[in-house]
Amino acid sequence: MTIASKKSFLTVSILFLIMGVVFLSVANLWLGSVTISWGDVLAAVFNRPASPQTNIIIWEYRMPQVFTAIAVGMGLSVAGLLLQTVFRNPLAGPSVLGISSGASLGVALVVLAGSAFGMDVLQSAMMLNDMAVVVAAFAGALVVMAIILYVSGRIGNVVTVLIIGIMLGYAVSAIVGVLQFFSGAEELHAYILWGLGSFAKNSLVRSEVVLMVTLLLVFFTWFFTLPLNAMLLGESYARSLGFDLKKYNTLILLLAGLLIALGTAFTGPIAFIGLAVPHLARAWFNTSNHKILIPATLLLGANLALFCNIIARLPGLDTSLPINVVTSMIGAPVVIWVIVKRSKIKVA
């Protein structure tokens, strides 16, 4: 490819992905258990008079899902990209650092601990959508993240940080296991539902906040384009280019950790998006250059999350599958495909 055709490929791809976000967002508003005509969807979106019922369905049920899916799709994907580059490991993703396990522990403590310790707690069904769950998940994620950052600030070696993150995840899961073992059926069910993930947990206001904060955090990743590219050459080269890795690793992990904590707190642990999307972006744009990969990953992540949310609501259209079922079924083949493709490169 010549340079000119490379540039136009880039422009066309980015435009295509932006249009994809718009198209899939509208499709998310349109599809659902209640059939609403295209005209009414658009009327409701642009605040023209539509029936009150349509307004409620669009703005209180479907729009929050769109905002949440876009925010979490972007946030987890770019977090996955940051982690894969910092750890120089293609299998790094939001789950490896134990941050989502930390969120699970927070939720388990709120939802399960009461019944595990023989106390009478709130109705579990009510708790699913409760702010207490969000706060507990976020707090749990932040505690694990603080430990990871402390370790990475003291130890320059990323492999050590990675292993400690994974082990922390196991340890935290063990505590959750104990809580599950001792808790009642109803609470257990509520906890498991949380773990299956959903973009439909948030009110409009809450989903708007998630989207705004995600966009703010995503804006900061732009400042790390150069150190991330330098890291591709390895730790020694990055250092020789003037990047103090203890500092940059810690800052980048902080950014990725906040994005993961935010996404997990408001939707539950979403599988595979953070792991698979960066690989998709690399394959699509055939580059590791973060100047291109960061926007590509953001757009692909939003597209994929919106697409998964449509698939999750397709069967019969009056109930929805857990989002994790869909992301795993789409994400796993992507990861396999990428690994096979990589092994071909090594041979050549």
Binding site: L226, L232, S236, S240, L241, G242, D244, N286
Partner: protein, 257 residues
């Protein structure tokens, strides 16, 4: 000649657990001058790379003082160091999709702001480095598709584009065939003649003797000797370092027989 690097009573090695150390060399005192092509020579595992990493500040010196242009290494930040020394290392970077051009452009990162674009001067430095190393036809290929020899030239171009007075190379001739090695040495000598100071670890004795201005000999017993190749051969230092069994260095033929 300007003294670029001063090394005084330096001890290299590793700190182990419970305050113990594994000492590789001690009491090294030597100076690097401008425009010098220096080969660090010694048997495998003697600590050549460790010395290089110590000079770069990647691992701490056990004892002694290293100073760059009068400033102690301890007082130079990672960022400032990037304007003094560029490196070519043995790290394999095969699993990334960057073009050769993108790899070379990383050299300008110390000079541009985190969100900035390369300036005219940045592009100029890259262009000069590409011309000098003769890799213009590789620029738009993916780095991982290059041969080992081509990769090494690209990494040298990258070091040149970083525009530092010093270039440190760790085993630049590893993985490269014989004609490629000689070619590479000619290139490094040409670069040093333009005023750059080059320090390279090398295990190919004959090549080092042929091309280096100065040699630093590191012995297994912790010994350290420095001088110009001819003197070191005549003193028998090369024999002392490398002769084993039936393989001996012949000082007339300047190779092992």
């Amino acid at each position: 000649m300007k003294n670029l690097v001063n090394i005084q009573s330096l001890s290299t090695g590793y700190r182990l657990k419970r305050g113990k150390t594994r000492l590789l060399h001690q009491n090294l005192s030597v100076t690097l001058h401008q425009g010098e092509l220096v080969g660090v020579l010694g048997p495998n595992g003697v600590g050549k790379s460790t010395l290089l990493k110590t000079l770069l500040g990647f691992i701490p010196a056990l004892k002694g003082e290293i100073s760059y242009g009068g400033t102690r290494l301890k007082d130079i930040s990672v960022k400032e160091m990037a304007a003094r020394v560029s490196v070519v290392l043995t790290t394999r970077i095969d699993d990334i999709y960057l073009t050769t051009e993108e790899v070379i452009h990383t050299a300008r990162y110390p000079y541009i702001s985190l969100v900035g674009k390369p300036s005219e001067k940045d592009l100029e430095m890259v262009k000069n480095a590409v011309l000098l190393t003769g890799i213009a036809d590789l620029l738009h290929r993916k780095f991982y598709t290059l041969s080992d020899g081509e990769k090494q030239r690209v990494m040298i171009a990258r070091a040149l584009a970083q525009d530092t007075p010093l270039i440190f190379l760790d085993e630049p001739t590893a993985f490269i065939d014989s004609p490629g090695r000689v070619e590479l040495m000619h290139l490094l000598r040409a670069i040093s003649r333009q005023g750059k100071t080059i320090l390279m670890t090398i295990h190919d004795v004959e090549l080092a003797l042929q091309f280096a201005d100065t040699l630093w000999l590191l012995g297994k017993d912790g010994s350290f000797e420095t001088g110009i190749p001819g003197d070191l051969i005549n003193k028998g230092s090369i024999n002392k370092l490398f002769d084993r069994g039936n393989v001996k260095f012949n000082s007339d033929k300047r190779r092992f027989v």
